[in-house]
């Protein structure tokens, strides 16, 4: 198989994580009243970004090995 599934997963999670984290940095604190005062966009966005980068990295590595 030519395309490793981890690459598209990495791309999408990286993008969504990045968007969420940036939005979390600049958004008004007031919107986090619903989420118990936690800036979930920043935290979860970073987690998704890291997951995406790791997935993409492993997908990329296996592609170059072939």
């Amino acid at each position: 198989m030519q395309l490793d599934v981890r690459m598209p997963i990495g791309l999408l999670f990286g993008f969504l994580g990045f968007v969420l984290a940036v939005y979390g940095l600049f958004s008004d604190r007031d919107i986090y009243r619903v989420s118990l005062g936690i800036n979930v966009n920043l935290g979860w966005g970073l987690a998704m970004l890291i997951f995406g980068v790791v997935m993409f990295f492993f997908g990329w590595k296996s592609r170059r090995a072939v």
Partner: protein, 601 residues
């Protein structure tokens, strides 16, 4: 509650991405084997996640939380009893025949093992069923988006009336699924399913985290709920003393044996994912790998239901969180936790049950939880998780349909011996009219709710006896084609008769049963009746198949090599490291499931 731009960006990014995956994969799809079986070249872990994701449709994500809110942690029986053992069984014992016989579909295995008529019954009923299930999935998604009113303001922005939300949702989801399946077939469906699996997890983990934190962790949840909500097995000695209204025997035999083995071991929708694996070991590992996330899914999909019911009623905390009540279609002022009462569409008043209590709309548990806890941004991700679950269920049905239609109906009865390119073309056509029929089914569901209920009942009758046929086919060489066919027909009839002569307590005769005039037996709950209907159907099919097989001529044993257990060489797996061997994986999975049952006893 309306979506903000950030939510829109996230949802659009997801939708564009799914179709792009299909577009990128298109160049790998050249033959019909590529299109229908992904070239049999997918690694085990990818097949495993697709296996679980294809099953993770709307019914799972929305329905299991609803059931969690209604029955409590006992809902996990649908996982720990109603899925794990069957998934281990299909991987260890049945995959060698599905994969090893080189059958291209489950009905085709029946053709190889039994005869043409047995295959025809299975292929035709399965094809109809998949089209309707994907229609129901579409309908459920569109209704949900409509009732959440999340799309109302974007629609208003483009000067479109909100009354079109249903139509646009149905058409848009159909077009997107059609696009990515049409482009590259099963491989594109599988890649998207893996993606959808991770998105569903990504959307639900923060929900459970915030919910649990809010109620004070698992301990806090236990304190807020009645005792039987947080124990899965206590009270099951007697049908009257647990919220499911089922006794342990009905549960273990009906759900744990007949229904669950019937689904996981014979439904081509899931088995197709394992057939796409790149080797026999990978095919056998597929359901085993899938069973690990399946085992832990109750914590993602059932817990939100429990939390939703445990939260203080929103009338009391109106000021603290004005969003939920304004957001949900139905104000949860009447209801429990953040789950509102069902509203009668004609009168606008809450629906009441026989005792005069409002009927709760449990299906809104997850959507209301998302609106309750997620700020803009994460809310978009939560909706993507919901969309992903609906789409994976739909695409699963569509890919199973186009394969069964092309190989088992078109190639077998309509046009034999055509070129591979012709069947590839037919597969693409089947995808188009399969999706078109699903859209039609979604509208039938909207207009005539009863027709859908009748159909689902009929499907239940047809499915219930299936596992007996496969069990005898794979493990008893004497079973014959006539036997299998008679078993299936009489088993289905047995299910219908049993349902027609019994009734759940407190129900009216009709769709709930008792439509044959006399009611012979009353069950404590509808779930108990369903389980026992399955047990009856299975037993009738099992006995009929044995009886008819014994009085009909057996097939030559040389023809059954590779199709029946006793005539097939044992698979050697000594060359694999122990943790990659299917048997050791299977034992580990069963042990983990036993531990979970014990923890939540």
């Amino acid at each position: 509650m309306s979506l903000t731009i950030i939510d829109g960006v996230i949802i659009l990014a997801y939708l564009i991405f799914t179709v792009s995956v299909g577009a990128v994969l298109k160049r790998y799809t050249r033959t019909s084997t590529d299109f229908f079986l992904a070239g049999r070249a997918i690694p085990a872990w990818v097949c495993g996640l697709a296996f679980i994701s294809a099953n993770l449709g709307a019914q799972e994500v929305v329905g299991m939380a609803a059931s969690g809110a209604k029955y409590g942690i006992a809902t996990s029986h649908f996982y720990w009893i109603g899925a794990i053992p069957a998934m281990v069984f299909v991987g260890l014992f049945m995959m060698p025949f599905y994969y090893g016989s080189r059958a291209r579909s489950v009905p085709e295995y029946l053709r190889l093992r039994f005869d043409e008529k047995t295959r025809a019954v299975n292929a035709i009923s399965f094809a109809i069923m998949t089209v309707f299930s994907s229609g129901i999935s579409m309908y459920a998604m569109a209704r949900l988006l409509q009732s959440l009113h999340v799309l109302d303001s974007p629609f208003a922005y483009f000067h479109v009336s909100a009354s079109y939300v249903f139509d646009v949702s149905v058409i848009a989801s159909a077009v997107i699924v059609l696009a990515y399946v049409l482009l590259a077939g099963l491989i594109s469906a599988i890649y998207n399913e893996v993606l959808q699996f991770f998105l569903i997890v990504a959307g639900f983990v923060p929900l459970v985290f915030l919910g649990l934190k809010n109620v004070g962790g698992w301990g806090g949840l236990v304190e807020r709920l009645p005792r039987d909500y947080t124990h899965a097995w206590q009270g099951l000695s007697n049908a009257g003393s647990n919220p499911l209204g089922v006794d342990w025997f009905g549960l273990v035999m009906g759900l744990g044996f007949v229904l669950s083995f019937g689904y996981w071991c014979t439904d081509f929708l899931v088995v197709q994912r394992a057939m796409a694996a790149d080797s026999m070991e990978a095919a056998r590992r597929t359901p085993l790998i899938a069973s690990v996330p399946k085992m832990f899914f109750p914590f993602l999909v059932i817990l939100p239901g429990l939390i939703a019911i445990a939260l203080p009623n929103q009338a009391a905390v109106e000021g603290a969180s004005p969003r939920t009540s304004a957001a949900a279609a139905v104000s949860p002022r009447i209801g429990r936790g953040i789950i509102p009462a069902k509203i009668d569409e004609r009168t606008g008043q809450p629906e009441l049950d026989a005792q005069g209590q409002p009927v709760l709309d449990y299906d809104l548990a997850v959507p209301n939880m998302l609106l309750h806890y997620f700020p803009p941004g994460l809310l978009g991700l939560g909706l993507v998780a919901l969309l992903a679950s609906f789409m994976s269920g739909m695409a699963g049905n569509v890919t199973a349909f186009n394969t069964v239609w092309t190989y088992d109906i078109y190639q077998s009865y309509i046009h034999r011996g055509a070129s591979d390119a012709h069947y590839l073309w037919m597969g693409r056509m089947a995808t188009i009219f399969g999706v078109a029929f699903s859209v039609l089914a979604a509208y039938v569901a909207l207009r005539f709710n009863n027709i859908m209920d009748v159909l689902q009942l009929v499907f239940a009758f047809v499915n219930a006896p299936l596992f007996a046929t496969f069990l005898l086919g794979m493990f008893w060489r004497r079973a014959t084609g006539h036997g299998a066919f008679c078993g299936l027909v009489l088993g289905t009839a047995g299910a219908a008769l049993h349902q027609g002569f019994t009734l759940p307590a407190g129900a009216q005769a009709g769709l709930n049963g008792g439509w044959l005039g006399a009611v012979v037996h009353h069950y404590p709950s509808q779930m108990a009746q369903n389980f026992w209907t399955a047990i009856w159907a299975w037993s009738v099919c099992f006995l009929t198949t044995i009886f008819v097989s014994l009085i009909t001529r057996p097939r030559k044993e040389s023809e059954l090599v590779g199709l029946v257990y006793s005539l097939t060489d044992r698979i050697r797996e000594k060359h694999l490291v122990w943790y990659k061997r299917p048997v050791s994986l299977g034992i580990a999975v069963l042990l983990m499931a036993a531990i979970l049952n014990w923890v939540f006893w």
